[in-house]
């Protein structure tokens, strides 16, 4: 009897936790996470300066989000899109904005990656 009641209470608690977890996932997916895919792809943006840089050390989809976050915090940057498979990041600057390559290289290092050549 006692063990039956305990099992019922336990099942209820597990269900309640699962429901809470699903709700958290939904909320965080909606508001909490940058996907790194927002905005138009940089290379199709017209009238804006678009640059591309080699980046080494990005090994999975979870890696390049950290670099995009750092780049998107620069006032001169309109959007950035990193690609771990192509080993590069494309940075689109705001109209009239100026930005030294060394600033980009520094941010790539702060994301724990290694900058290569500027591709364009």
């Amino acid at each position: 009897m006692g063990s039956g009641v305990a099992m019922k209470v336990e099942t209820y608690a597990v269900r309640r936790f699962a429901l809470l977890l699903v709700l958290c996932v939904m909320l965080l997916s909606e508001f909490g996470c940058s996907t790194g895919r927002s905005g138009a792809p940089a290379h199709t943006t017209e009238g804006l300066e678009v640059r591309a840089y080699e980046v080494f050390g990005m090994g999975c989809p979870g890696c390049h989000g950290g670099l995009e976050k750092l780049l998107n915090e620069i006032p001169a940057v309109e959007t950035s899109e990193a690609n771990w498979k192509e080993k590069h990041v494309v940075v689109t600057l705001k109209p009239g904005a100026e930005l030294e390559d060394e600033v980009i290289f520094d941010l790539i290092r702060r994301a724990n990656f290694t900058p290569g050549e500027r591709l364009r």
Binding site: V9, E10, A13, T35, G57, G66, N112, G116
Partner: protein, 280 residues
């Protein structure tokens, strides 16, 4: 004789949940690589373990919530709080308890990282402590320290990791009922292969195989070793990880493959963990 058996069961009952809490880690892949500066990682897991013998049965659920932050590119801070629930059946009656386990904090430092066009290699030492903040059932009631050294290697779709750690339990010698779990050394090796889903750069699937070795010294009671506690277990742990730019789903089963335990103890049982990480 029966008196001795009951004492043994009581000690194992006290130590088992603490052991589960102390040693339960996640998937070890990429542990030697620190995240980007200003990167937040929120991880929630569900873990399940069961332990039984002819006299008792224990079922335990643990829900660790971990928050990590890249303070600098070479320094990561991590805090962890576990919510635990334990059901204990002994002598025909079942007792269920829920509560918080001890608060855990960790610092990881990027000692070395080399990124090239073809591979990435990283070494990261860690230092951690656990405060006795948990509820009665789930706290060791002592301050514990842990140190680790993590190595990660990635080459194309292949990744391998080796992690070493040592945990000093009861460093403050202010133990509950005079009973302190023994120190634990562990060695983890992880191998994984990355499949890009649909060939895209935005989601990947990683089958993972880990070998986890844990060697626990005997528990101490008023400074003396306690019989029938401590021992070494080797787990073989197949798992899977699904990664997108902002969410990681992971699952792993730790299956005991070989063990040598001190005295008379129940055989180690498999442990199951499932988790989700948000990167932002």
């Amino acid at each position: 004789m029966r008196h001795l058996q009951l004492i043994t069961v009581a000690i194992i009952t006290c130590l088992s949940p603490l052991a589960g809490i102390s040693h339960a880690g996640g998937i070890s892949v990429d542990a030697g690589l620190t995240p980007a500066e200003n990167r937040w990682i929120l991880r929630a897991q569900a873990r399940y373990m069961q332990r039984s013998d002819e006299m008792s049965e224990m079922t335990m659920y643990m829900f660790p919530v971990v928050l990590a932050y890249g303070v600098r590119s070479d320094l990561t801070l991590m805090v962890r709080q576990i919510i635990a629930r334990r059901s204990m059946t002994m002598g025909g009656s079942t007792e269920t308890k829920s509560g918080l386990a001890d608060f855990f904090a960790l610092v990881k430092y990027k000692a070395y990282r080399r990124n090239t066009r073809h591979h990435t290699f990283g070494i990261a030492p860690t230092l951690a402590f656990e405060m006795p903040t948990g509820g009665d059932t789930f706290s060791s009631d002592t301050w514990d320290l842990a140190g680790g050294l993590f190595f990660s290697w990635r080459s194309g779709p292949w990744a391998s990791d080796v992690n070493m750690a040592y945990r000093w339990n009861g460093v403050d010698d202010r133990d509950k009922d005079g009973l302190v779990p023994g120190d634990v050394s562990s060695l983890d090796a992880a191998f994984s292969y990355q499949y890009s889903i649909g060939g895209s750069a935005y989601s990947s699937l990683f089958p993972v195989l880990e070998l986890n070795y844990e060697d626990a010294r005997a528990a101490r009671l008023d400074g003396d070793d306690v019989d029938n506690t401590g021992g070494a277990v080797l787990y073989v742990s197949p798992g899977i990880k699904y990664t997108t730019a902002s969410v990681i789903l992971e699952g792993l089963v730790r299956i005991p493959a070989s063990w040598e335990q001190n005295g008379t103890q129940p055989d180690p049982d498999p442990k199951v963990l499932a988790g989700i990480r948000f990167l932002f």
